[in-house]
Structures are given as structure tokens and as C-alpha cells.
């Protein structure tokens, strides 16, 4: 008796006992689940197999980045869906970042009116579900934009209609390789130049206008190459043929609606993050920077922003992740992303819920886990070092 009560009173052995009990229940629970799945699958005559991935999918996808037709396999359909998820996430993140940072700064501006407008934008946008944003934008594009025949034309090259947006498509010809080459050279040069200037400044204190030099190098070098090689890019302008436009790049109403909705919704959250990040910087930092005579722009660029960045970037990344996960709502308006292809039509056609959902979840999970790992690494790198 005393032996057992001693074991229970000893912290180490008690922890061990509790953990063994938890493990036992976990094992029991998992085996219970597996048994249930087995019994259910046996009753339905199903099995678990991933062979369905290689049989023809048999459905069409209207927006694709790699070639696809309905004789391609489910696997390829899934990849097309994954790329579509990436596409909308990419556009959405750009829109959300630009709009969000602008709004966050306007929120802090001394202008009362502008700051109030930004405030109400944020409140109205983030208190409405993202799915409603998506459906609202989709509805606006489908129902209020005109038919292709009466499309709104922007300079006769870009057309907005209820079948989507038509944008001129750049077609590359031979000689474009030179432009790419020069672009790569310009990037390498600017990285090296920035490093050189940083070292120079550390040693001597002399500052160069690194940013502007690099921007102009990256812009002009490829441009020069573009003219040298005889302008190897031509624009394919969309033209009305019959009931719809042909040629050019097509942004389907679904893609456009999804991009707007995700961008506008996430921008509200980013605005709050940017605002909180800037406000988190101690007032003394700004006052000290002003008192040593820095210009307002330098105060912002050299003192406030580098410190705010540390606060802003982790939640910003998690907003990007949220945006990517929210893009799975595309299924509600029929945009063919990963969930709509593999987890939607493929699931319904093959009846393999278990396998398709497993793949879809694993893909999302691996994306978010790898980005969180990256963030943890970044956090440990920029963490204030306590001395």
C-alpha cells in the first residue's frame, strides 16, 4: 500500500503513469476508428486505393495554367486545381498587401476624415463573412457587367464583360532570351551592389542611393536588351468574334471575383496589423530620431519601419496563409481550385472520399506547416537579443 502511494506521490513516476494511461486510451481509440472504417468499408464493398488518380478525369476545367483536357487523369486535374489555387492566392496576396498597407497608413494619418474612412472600411469589410464577399463580387460581375458584345472597353485593348476580363496577351518571339538574360544579370548586379554599399557604409559612413540605382538598373537593363533584340514581344489583343472574345488573356469572372473578394477582405486584416505594428513602436524611438535631426521620411524608413517589420511580418504571413485557405471557398462559385477538382468533382465521380480528402488535406497541411516553420525561423532570426 505504501509502495503504491509512494509511486503516486513521486512526481516522475506519476507523470509516467498518467502518460501510459493516455497512450493506452489513444491506442484504443485509434484501433476503434480503424475497426469501424474496416467494418464500414467491408459492408459497402469498398477499399482504399489511389489507382483512381491515373484514370481519365472526364470533366472540363475552364481555367488552367498547364494544358488540360477531359481525357487527362484525375492526378493532372488535381495539379491544375492546385495551380489555380496558387494563381488566385498570388493575385489576392498582391492586392491585399498593397491595399492593406495603404489603409493601415491612412488609418494613422493626421487627416481625421481619411482616417475615419479607412476605419469604417476595415470595420465593414472584416465583419462580413468572406463567403459573402465572394458571392457578392461574383454576383456583381455576372449581373451588372454588360454582355461581351457591349463590353466596357479600356482603350480598346482590355475588355470587361460578364464573361470575365480580357487583357492583351504578350506573345514572345525569338530573341526574348536576351531580355531574360539581362534581367537575371540586373538582379545579380543589384544584389551585389547592395552588399557592396552596405559594407562601404559600415566602414566609411558614406551612403549611396542604393534603392534608386537598383530600381533603374532592373528596369532599364532588360529594356535596353528589349530594343537591341528588336522588340521580340507582340501583344495579342482580344477581339470580339461571334458571341465572345477570342485571343488575349482571359480572367474568368470566378477568378476575378475571388481575387477581389480575397484581396479586399484580407486587406482589412492587414491594415489592422500594419497599424498595430507601427503603434507598437515606442514613442521614444520616434522622438529620439526626430531630435537627432532626421527628416520625417528617414524617421519612418530608418527607425520606425525596421522595428515595426519585426512585429508585422509574423501575423502578415498568417494572413497570407488564411487567404490561401479561404481560396478553397472557390467551390461556392465554381472556380476550379484544388478543393473543387480533387475534393469536388473527382470525389463525386470516383466515390473515393477517403483518398481524395486525405490528399487535399495533406497538401494544405504541408503548405501551412512549411510556412509556419519558415516563420519560426524568421522570428528567431529577428528576435531582439537580450543582453
Amino acid at each position: 500500500m505504501t509502495f503504491f502511494s509512494n509511486i503516486w506521490r513521486n512526481e516522475k513516476s506519476r507523470e509516467l503513469i498518467v502518460q501510459i494511461i493516455v497512450l493506452f486510451f489513444l491506442g484504443w481509440f485509434i484501433s476503434w476508428l480503424v475497426m469501424n472504417v474496416n467494418a464500414n468499408f467491408e459492408a459497402l464493398g469498398k477499399d482504399i486505393s489511389f489507382e483512381f488518380l491515373f484514370i481519365p478525369a472526364g470533366y472540363d476545367i475552364n481555367q488552367y495554367l498547364i494544358d488540360y483536357n477531359n481525357r487527362d487523369s484525375h492526378l493532372r486535374a488535381g495539379i491544375v486545381g492546385l495551380l489555380n489555387t496558387g494563381l488566385v492566392a498570388f493575385f489576392g496576396i498582391i492586392l491585399a498587401t498593397v491595399l492593406g498597407i495603404a489603409l493601415g497608413i491612412i488609418r494613422l494619418s493626421k487627416n481625421w476624415l481619411a482616417s475615419k474612412i479607412a476605419y469604417w472600411y476595415v470595420e465593414f469589410t472584416r465583419n462580413v463573412p468572406i463567403l459573402l464577399h465572394i458571392l457578392l463580387w461574383h454576383g456583381i460581375i455576372i449581373n451588372t457587367l454588360p454582355h461581351p458584345r457591349k463590353a466596357i472597353s479600356l482603350g480598346e485593348v482590355t475588355f470587361l464583360s460578364n464573361r470575365g476580363f480580357y487583357i492583351p496577351k504578350p506573345l514572345t518571339e525569338t530573341g526574348i532570351e536576351l531580355v531574360y538574360l539581362f534581367f537575371v544579370i540586373a538582379i545579380i548586379f543589384s544584389i551585389l551592389f547592395a552588399k557592396y554599399c552596405k559594407r562601404k557604409q559600415d566602414l566609411t559612413g558614406i551612403q549611396y542611393p542604393v534603392f534608386w540605382i537598383n530600381v533603374s538598373v532592373i528596369c532599364f537593363l532588360p529594356l535596353i536588351a528589349f530594343f537591341i533584340s528588336g522588340m521580340p514581344v507582340s501583344l495579342e489583343i482580344p477581339a470580339l468574334k461571334g458571341f465572345n472574345f477570342r485571343g488575349g488573356m482571359h480572367m474568368s469572372p470566378e477568378l476575378a471575383a475571388l481575387t477581389f473578394a480575397l484581396g479586399i477582405y484580407t486587406a482589412a486584416f492587414i491594415a489592422e496589423i500594419v497599424r498595430a505594428g507601427i503603434l507598437a513602436i515606442d514613442k521614444g524611438q520616434r522622438e529620439a530620431a526626430e531630435s537627432i535631426g532626421l527628416k520625417p521620411s528617414k524617421v519612418m524608413n530608418l527607425v520606425i519601419l525596421p522595428q515595426a517589420r519585426r512585429v508585422i511580418i509574423p501575423p502578415l504571413t498568417s494572413q497570407y496563409l488564411n487567404l490561401t485557405k479561404n481560396s478553397s471557398l472557390a467551390i461556392a462559385i465554381g472556380y476550379m481550385d484544388l478543393v473543387a477538382t480533387l475534393g469536388g468533382i473527382s470525389l463525386n465521380q470516383t466515390g473515393r472520399e477517403m483518398e481524395t480528402m486525405l490528399i487535399v488535406m495533406l497538401i494544405y497541411l504541408s503548405v501551412s506547416l512549411s510556412i509556419s516553420a519558415l516563420m519560426n525561423w524568421y522570428n528567431s532570426k529577428v528576435k531582439l537579443v537580450g543582453r
Binding site: N111, I117, E123, G139, N143, M357
Partner: protein, 369 residues
């Protein structure tokens, strides 16, 4: 220039310089302090003018509030056609709940505020008595909504819909996910390796996948994991998924709160000889929960907004009702009106929640008094 001389201590109080006080001063300081600032003001005013002009015209002045169809609407005026809402307002609120039984929903909804009051406002008079009602309320609400007892007609889950469904899903999810989230947060901070690993896996999995895939699992796969023949309502399955999903987020918020507590607090608790549960109950949680209120309420708002996702698996929340209305040829194409109406409902409820969290935060903030 005449300079008066005053005896020391007899200087009169001079008025503030002109242009720094009053309406004029305020305008000058807040709207036209510099050239760029004035430009921003002018742009804002122009933007606001067009926005307000357009909104008032479309929403109210040119709007039609009752008509038989979209075409009839357009014949009357060319603004918003709210008839799509007004003709189906019952469905938007109650779904397909039988019309004669709708008073039960009304009573449940109104008494919900009574049940929540003592939890939300700690200073309310007669709090103790109201708390008894809060404990009793879930059973009361269940019986009243579902029926089947005390001579009340039994109502099928499939008839639930509209804002009522949103509130049911949201409230159930919120109430169930807070305790689970606290347990997960404690599990993640635990010394026991097995418990910690389990909590981390659960939290990271739930946060890593989109909610919609979890809802698909709930609607089409959950039955595979249960003994053959078990079948329970889709509504319960969805609530379970919502609970798991937001519990994972709440756990992370609370973990942040736990980590923000100074180490000295734990050391003091240890020095007093408290055991783990006493430490958790009296030291960790009161402080951690207080810090994490804004984050928790944000998660709740997120959960409440996410209830709209159930439309994808075929439940008739306000969005589902709206889409059904739009599928009717009479109302085809009135999506803007329908979705804006639903958006307004969500805005009002979520905005109220965020205001409440601000109020509570200020009330509990003891260090800045």
C-alpha cells in the same frame, strides 16, 4: 508697438492664438494642416460624396420595397429591388421552420439574452439567480427548438435555416469551443510529453486545413469512423467540426496569454505549495484569459462568420436561403440585394461582438488606473 509692463505674478491669461481653437481650429488642424493633407481631405470628400449619393439613391430613394418579381420591380424604379427580401423575410429568419411554431424560436432567442447577461456583464443585479437560469438554459432551448416533449410538436433538423441556423451554429460552437480550447492550450504547455504531442498535433492539423475540407469530412466521411449503423444529424456533425476548428485557434490565443505571464507568478505559486490544478485555476487561467480576451472574441467572430460555409454542404443558412431565392426565375439576378441584406445582418452582430470585447477589455484592464 506698445509693450505693457506687469508686476511679477500679475500677467493676465492670454487667449490662445487665433486659428487653433474652435471649429475653425479643429478643421485646420485635422483636415488642412499641410498641402498633402488638404489634398487627401478633398479626395476623401469627393469619394464620400459619390459613395453616399450612390448608396442613398440605390438603397432608399430609387429602391422598390414590394413587388411581385424583378421585372415588376424594374418597372417601378431602377434602384434596389428589396422585394426579394421582403417577400421571403420569414424564410431568411426561420428557414423552413413551420410558421405556426415560430413563436418558439422567438422565445428561445429572447431568453438567450437573459441567459447570457450574467455571463457577459458581471455587475448585473441578482446575478446569482440569473446564473441558475443560464445553467438551465441549454436544456430549455433544446426542448423548445426541437420539440417532442411537453406536447410540443417535434421539428426535424432539416427544416432549420436562415439566421436562426446561423445563431444556433454560432452559439453552440462558441460555447463548446472555449472549454476545449482551454484544455488544448493547457495540454500544449504541459510537461507530459504524450499530452503535449497530442495537443500540438491536433492544433496544427485543425489550423492547417481549410474549414471547408473539415465540413466535407463531417458531411460525407464521418460515418465511416463510427460503428456501422450509427447515424446522427448533419447539424450535430457540423457543430462538432466547428467546435474542433475554433478550439484549435482559441488554444493558440490562450497559449499566447499563458506565455505572457511573468515567470515570477509561477514561482510564487510553487513557493506557496500549490499543486498543478490550483496553480492553473487561481494563477494561470485568470491572468491568461484576461490578456487573451481580444483574441478569443476575434476567434468567436471568425467562427460566427464561418457558419456561412455550411451552405456548401447543403444546409440552408441565410446564404442558402438567398441562393434558393435567386434560383427562382422571378428573382433571378438580384444577387447584390440579397447578399447585401445578409451582409448587413452579419455586420451588425459581429460589430456588436467586437464592441463588447473592447468594453470588457477596458473593464478588466487593471494596470492603467
Amino acid at each position: 508697438m506698445s509693450e505693457k509692463t506687469y508686476k511679477p505674478g500679475n500677467y493676465p491669461d492670454l487667449p490662445p492664438p487665433p486659428g487653433t481653437v474652435g471649429v475653425y481650429g479643429w478643421i485646420k488642424q485635422n483636415l488642412f494642416s499641410s498641402i498633402s493633407n488638404s489634398l487627401l481631405t478633398i479626395i476623401s470628400v469627393v469619394l464620400l460624396y459619390y459613395l453616399i449619393d450612390g448608396i442613398i439613391g440605390w438603397f432608399f430613394l430609387d429602391a422598390v420595397f414590394d413587388a411581385d418579381s424583378k421585372i415588376a420591380c424594374r418597372k417601378i424604379d431602377n434602384g434596389a429591388c428589396w422585394a426579394v427580401i421582403t417577400r421571403r423575410v420569414g424564410q431568411f429568419v426561420y428557414g423552413f421552420y413551420p410558421e405556426t411554431e415560430r413563436w418558439r424560436i422567438d422565445i428561445t432567442f429572447l431568453t438567450m439574452f437573459v441567459a447570457f447577461a450574467p455571463l457577459l456583464y458581471p455587475d448585473i443585479p441578482k446575478r446569482k439567480w440569473l446564473l441558475y437560469f443560464s445553467v438551465f438554459y441549454p436544456f430549455f432551448a433544446f426542448v423548445l427548438i426541437m420539440g417532442g416533449y411537453f406536447g410540443l410538436q417535434k421539428i426535424e433538423y432539416s427544416l432549420f435555416g436562415g439566421f436562426m441556423l446561423t445563431v444556433i451554429l454560432g452559439v453552440c460552437g462558441i460555447v463548446c469551443s472555449l472549454p476545449l480550447g482551454i484544455l488544448l492550450a493547457l495540454g500544449r504547455q504541459s510537461n507530459l510529453t504524450v499530452v503535449r504531442t497530442l495537443s500540438v498535433c491536433f492544433i496544427e492539423f485543425m489550423r492547417g486545413v481549410p474549414l471547408i475540407t473539415l465540413l466535407f469530412v463531417a458531411s460525407s466521411m464521418l460515418n465511416y469512423f463510427l460503428p456501422p449503423g450509427t447515424n446522427f444529424s448533419i447539424l450535430v456533425r457540423v457543430i462538432i467540426m466547428f467546435t474542433f476548428f475554433s478550439a484549435a485557434y482559441i488554444a493558440e490565443v490562450i497559449r499566447g496569454g499563458i506565455q505572457a505571464i511573468p515567470k515570477g507568478q509561477y514561482e510564487a505559486a510553487d513557493a506557496l505549495g500549490m499543486n498543478y490544478w490550483q496553480k492553473t485555476r487561481f494563477i494561470t487561467l485568470p491572468q491568461a484569459l484576461k490578456i487573451s480576451i481580444p483574441g478569443i472574441v476575434n476567434t468567436f467572430i471568425g467562427l460566427y462568420k464561418d457558419t456561412t460555409l455550411v451552405v456548401v454542404i447543403g444546409l440552408l443558412d441565410p446564404l442558402g436561403i438567398g441562393r434558393a431565392a435567386l434560383a427562382d426565375t422571378k428573382w433571378n439576378g438580384l444577387s447584390t440585394e440579397t447578399y447585401l441584406f445578409v451582409a448587413l445582418f452579419f455586420f451588425v452582430s459581429c460589430f456588436a461582438m467586437s464592441r463588447y470585447s473592447l468594453w470588457l477589455e477596458n473593464k478588466l484592464n487593471t494596470d492603467k488606473k
